[in-house]
């Protein structure tokens, strides 16, 4: 039998299975902690840092932190919200994100977080890094300018032998997402669509279906990101 533990988020007490990830337990209890790289039940990467919370007064990433008894978690504080806003701004200046003509606009987690934190002009200078597009694979268009290096695709999109279709290349500011040309030549329709879906931005696009969801019916057209979790609040 798994052990239940009690802990608090922003002063309110919650209960959960010891050792489960804070971000998941919080979500199940209607507490939204923003994520970009995390995907439930997939091994956490902890790479984006947007889920930064304070646990017993120390900064931690909620997607890698298992819950334990007597944990005191701060989540929705002005300080943490500003840190998250700064992270969103960094991601925006670090890539080349032109929402107006991006087909993920309205369905994009990064854009939605920009709205949530009311990002106006980023406090950091734009890098305007020049990145190539990769259009060679028959089903997938890889828009490297928009990648935020969350590794979701690398961790989740694999063939039946467990080989990843996607991989990183380079280091530091030269880091880029790549797609295995040979593997991708035979990627299934399902997996191609899944890749586009799990990419939090518009970096992975299923070819030829652009803009098929009308404005007004996209994920974040009517409600801000996190609303689906917050409605669970007891």
């Amino acid at each position: 039998m798994s052990e239940k533990v009690k802990f608090t988020i922003d002063g309110k007490e919650y209960e959960g299975e010891k050792g489960r990830l804070l971000v998941d337990v919080a979500a199940e209890n209607g507490v939204y902690i923003p994520v970009l790289c995390h995907w439930k039940d997939v091994k956490p990467a902890g790479s984006c840092r947007i889920c930064t919370v304070k646990v017993n007064d120390r900064y931690m990433t909620a997607c890698t932190t298992p819950i334990d008894a007597n944990m005191t978690v701060e989540n929705k504080t002005p300080e943490l919200e500003d840190i998250r806003k700064a992270i969103v701004e960094m991601l925006f200046v670090e890539g080349n994100h032109f929402c107006p003509a991006c087909e993920k606009s309205g369905d994009c987690d990064l854009q939605a977080l920009g709205y949530l934190y009311q990002m106006m002009v980023p406090r950091f200078p734009y890098a305007f890094e020049r990145r190539e597009l990769d259009a060679k694979s028959p089903k997938i268009f890889l828009e490297k300018n928009r990648c935020i290096f969350c590794k979701r695709c690398i961790r989740m999109i694999k063939d039946d032998k467990g080989r990843s279709f996607f991989a990183f290349k380079g280091r530091g500011k030269h880091l880029e997402i790549t797609i295995d040309e040979k593997l991708a030549a035979n990627i299934s329709e399902e997996l191609a669509q899944e890749a586009m879906k799990i990419c939090p931005v518009g970096a992975i696009l299923r070819k030829e279906v652009g803009f098929s969801t009308p404005i007004g019916q996209r994920k974040y057209d009517k409600v801000p990101i996190g609303s689906d979790i917050e409605v669970l609040q007891k």
């Binding site: 107006p100 003509a101 597009l133 259009a135 060679k136 268009f141 030829e208 652009g210 009308p214 404005i215």
Partner: protein, 483 residues
């Protein structure tokens, strides 16, 4: 001693334009040039982008008529995805696009007439510019100003229900449309509370026409004498010769009404049309190859469309069309300021088309997109509010755009605008040493008749600084006026 008069920027047009009038020793106008000094570069930066992005990306050229670019690009891509050349879409796909387009024409023509041109008609071409603007109209003719605002709003609502939002929507996708109309949306537009319904729009469009004709009767000499010059005219017409602003074949006529381009398939437009580059403007000069650079230029836009078509397929506009055509004994109308008249006939026609479309049950159906065998090249033409708009794309095996050629309406009208300005300058400026207010205005009025989108970018209306320079051949500034 030669003199040079420069007027910049021009007010109540979209974007920047600068006019230079060169005078000779005897102060006669030697040459007039309308310079377009802005550069947008869209043709270059769509290269490499996935083709299905073009309708959404390229419409960012413009905040006034993005729908035209959106649809012209989508039509070109219909060809690329094997969905035919304008007639291969599902009825819902085609009719939703038509509704979007006529909504766009309606709002743009209303904007042009009520906000941009009516100050000249209502308050006089020589009235103080401080009051000769949309605010002046609102203060002196509040009813008319309200109509202008509401008509534009109605057109914008149509765009919003078809494209997803009022400006820069995403409705048209290669091979069709991404949404249909709900019965609720249809009822809002068809039977909305006064004044925002199709019937009221028809009534007001008729009112605007009567208003113009009344003005014309009283000022006939001025209107007819202003920048009259014969020209060729070019537009799309439906296969049977009817006016069709969404799709058709390409027709051009000369100033006598003889066909010089006989209803050709626009996929081959480059066989008939070429563009010339002149070193003093960023805007190219298109012309009909068969007639050459000097004689092959043509007008596009409302005047050209009403001249080119054989009839208008809605009853009220058709009656107005007959009156318009009778005015020049069935021959093409070459009076520059009659463009306003033609534009209002189209305004009425659009309102009628919108009402007809809204009553069509096809709009509510679910069959939205078709696809066939992909090709690597497509051309899309549409009659934008300001005239024929050309989009031409080529793609590679990886679905990336490798070539884009856009000939926008204002580019098609480049030579006619230059001709008009030259005409006005010759008439009003020859022998003059000073820049007078009516002279400045006349130049602007001539340009404004074309409703140009000089940069395809918008500016606040009415209060744009006007800068006129009178310069001698040795570069000395003789006179300088700033508003």
């Amino acid at each position: 001693m030669t003199q040079k008069i420069t007027i910049e920027p021009v007010t109540r047009v979209e974007g920047h334009g600068k006019v230079t009038i060169h005078l000779d020793d005897k102060l006669n106008v030697a040459q007039t040039r309308l310079h377009i000094v802005e550069f947008r570069g869209f043709e270059r930066f769509v290269q490499g982008r996935p083709y299905w992005e073009a309708p959404v990306l390229v419409q960012r050229l413009c905040g006034i008529c993005p729908v035209s670019h959106h649809l012209a690009a989508a039509k070109a891509l219909d060809v690329i995805v094997g969905a035919g050349t304008g007639d291969g879409l599902t009825p819902t796909g085609e009719k939703m696009r038509r509704l979007m387009h006529y909504g766009q024409i309606f709002q743009s023509h209303a904007l042009h007439f009520f906000h941009l041109s009516s100050p000249d008609f209502l308050l006089g071409y020589d009235a103080d510019p401080a009051i000769r603007n949309v605010i002046g109209v609102a203060m002196n003719y509040p009813e008319l100003a309200t109509q202008g605002v509401m008509m534009r709003k109605f057109g914008q609502e149509i765009i919003s229900h078809t494209a997803g939002k009022k400006i820069h929507g995403t409705g048209a996708i290669p091979g069709g449309i991404n949404k249909n109309l709900t019965a609720e949306e249809r009822d809002i537009l068809l039977k909305g509370e006064d004044p925002l319904n199709a019937d009221k729009m028809i009534e007001w469009a008729e009112g605007a026409l009567e208003f113009f004709k009344d003005y014309y009767l009283k000022n006939r000499e001025f209107v007819d004498g202003f920048a009259y010059f014969p020209s060729n005219h070019l537009s799309l017409v439906r296969k049977d010769g009817a006016m069709d602003l969404y799709h058709g074949v390409l027709r051009a006529i000369n100033s006598n009404g003889e066909k010089i381009l006989n209803d050709v398939d626009y996929q081959d437009y480059y066989k008939y049309i070429e563009e010339e580059v002149r070193n003093w403007s960023y805007m190219k000069f298109p012309y009909l190859k068969s007639l050459g650079k000097d004689d092959g230029w043509y007008r596009v836009g409302p005047l050209a469309r009403v001249n080119c078509c054989d009839f208008i397929p809605t009853p009220k506009a058709q009656k107005q069309f007959e009156e318009f055509r009778a005015h020049t004994n069935g021959k093409p109308n070459n009076f520059c300021l009659h463009t306003h008249w033609a534009r209002l006939i189209e305004l009425l026609h659009s309102a009628e088309v919108i009402k007809d479309l809204l009553q069509d049950p096809d709009l509510l159906k679910d069959d939205l997109v078709v696809k066939g065998n992909k090709t690597d090249e497509g051309v899309g033409l549409i009659e934008a509010p300001r005239g024929t708009l050309f989009h031409h794309y080529k793609i590679n095996d990886n679905d990336q755009i490798t070539m884009a050629n856009l000939i926008v309406s204002t580019t098609n009208n480049n030579e006619p605008m230059n001709q008009s300005v030259n005409f006005v300058a010759k008439n009003m400026m020859s022998g003059q040493k000073e820049i007078t207010e009516p002279m400045k205005n006349a130049v602007e009025v001539a340009i404004r008749a074309y409703d140009p989108c000089l940069s395809c970018a918008t500016h606040a209306l009415g209060k744009m600084p006007l800068d006129i320079k009178l310069v001698s051949s040795d570069g000395k500034e003789l006179d300088h006026y700033r508003s």
